[in-house]
Amino acid sequence: MFAPRSDLPLDRDPLGRFLPWLIAFMVYLAVLALAGVLVINGTAGRWERGLGGTVTVQIAPADSAEAAGVRLRAALDVLRATPEVAHAEPIPESRIAALLEPWLGEIDAALDLPLPRLIDVRLKPGGDLDAEDLAMRLAAAVPGAALDDHRVWLDRLLRLVHTVEVLAGVILALIGLVIAGTVVYATRSGLAVHLDAIEVLHLIGAQDSYVARQFADRALALSLRGGAIGLLPGVATLIGIDQLAARLQGGPLPDLALAPAHWVILAVLPIVVAVIAMLTARVTVMRNLASMF
């Protein structure tokens, strides 16, 4: 792996051997946190897009099948007369029963359980539906009709997603702090160990930046090595989770797969970490040298 020519024996520092492993561990955690955010963010986006163009109308169960049919038709009439609606289709009772099956078990149609009727409404793209107005018109035409534009549910979901994102952001920031703190500590101890050699470099006419570059190059090389070590098990873990999720396909779990762009972001993560480590080492050396010599 890339090892810069150095005037200082930084290879021999015990912290130099320890740093790549710490960075590997941190990169592993960061990969998982970042992947989690990307998956959740993507899933929420898909749900929002999927539900954004639809509303559902729910009609309370009536006393008789005829009454229910009348209400359903009345509701459909209102919906089809609404210009923003592209398509309104009652959801068959068998499908409603199937939807409830995981919770209620197999429903015997003969039991005549009073189930609400649902109408799936697809909106015209770009249409600006006034959900409140439609809900009022529906309620006026059909007693017990309610309009669900999924907004409340979506808002809650997005709030949850946002909270998870903030949490992951905090975790990533903490990981960054741990890396920066360790690099500061390693660099300071390196400065102390090599004080004599650094003084010689200074007396020969080295600028602070010349000394700083040696530490920064070293931090970059060690971090890239550590990042690569951490990225591999991180990717393996994600692939493993993906395989497990694929076996549950069709269940209530959303699609957990990462998009190609997400993999690119994860691959860039170790490079970002290495650059943070490099800049931290440089700033540490510059600050300390200014107060030492």
Partner: protein, 252 residues
């Protein structure tokens, strides 16, 4: 920058005193000037302050009092950012060599050129040429630990002169080599001096200084005296140690 700098003065000490912590003054009111192109031996017994005087000259420390001017720059007011440029004009042979242990002979000698940002092909040419001249062409890749004391000293000297400094300071630069090599090295210093480098060589080897025959600065008890090649040493008092009653000002 000094106000009325005379052209051609490389080093100027004015009333320089130095003490370590609360100890006695190691240097006591030292004043002298070194003109461009001068060659001086700095003699005196161990502990007289020779190394301290040199350390002040190569900017390893600051005086407790007084004023030091190097190449026309007052070292007390020169900015930290400008120090490396000043130091690059000074070559130093440290008493304990101060070679970097993990670097080869070649890399140790190459340091000043690399630090100055010289091109690697130029670095190789100059360093190999110089190491051949001092007889270390077969030890280019050797680490200092693998070299004898004398060879390490040669490496230290090569590192000091490779950048063609304007001021060359040697702290016992021939302490670990045979006399014939010492003379050869002195000739190298003289050659550099002829090319315009101001040279100060601290040595306790008075016979060597006598043989080369340059003017001498003599340190004793923190005070600086000028000795002419044939002038007698300062008269000794009853207790054996000379005690100058007032600070001598040496203009060379």
């Amino acid at each position: 920058m000094g106000t009325a700098e005379r052209k051609g003065v490389v080093v100027r000490f004015q009333g320089v005193g130095l003490r370590y912590a609360a100890g006695p003054e190691v240097l006591d009111n030292v004043s002298f000037e070194l003109e461009d192109g001068a060659f001086h031996f700095l003699t005196g017994p161990s502990g007289a302050g020779k190394t301290t005087l040199l350390r002040l000259m190569y900017l390893a420390m600051k005086p407790t009092r007084g004023r030091i001017t190097l190449f026309g720059d007052d070292t007390a007011t020169v900015s930290r950012a400008r120090l490396p440029a000043l130091r690059r004009r000074i070559g130093v042979v440290f008493q304990d060599f101060r070679l970097l242990d993990h670097l080869s002979t070649f890399d140790n000698v190459a340091l000043p050129l690399r630090i100055a940002g010289r091109h690697e092909s130029e670095v190789r040419k100059h360093v190999v040429e110089l190491l051949r001249w001092v007889g270390l062409e077969n030890h280019l890749d050797a680490r200092p630990q693998a070299l004898s004391g004398g060879q390490q000293q040669l490496v230290a000297i090569a590192r000091a002169v490779v950048g063609r400094p304007k001021l060359l300071l040697g702290d016992e630069p021939t302490g670990n080599v045979d006399d014939h090599i010492a003379i050869r090295l002195m000739h190298l210093f003289q050659e550099m001096n002829r090319l315009g480098t101001t040279v100060v060589v601290a040595t306790h080897n008075r016979s060597l200084a006598g043989r080369i025959g340059h003017r001498r600065l003599r340190m004793e008890h923190g005070k600086l005296w000028m000795e002419h090649p044939k002038a007698p040493a300062p008269a000794k008092g009853g207790s054996g140690a000379p005690r100058p009653t007032e600070a001598p000002v040496v203009r060379l």
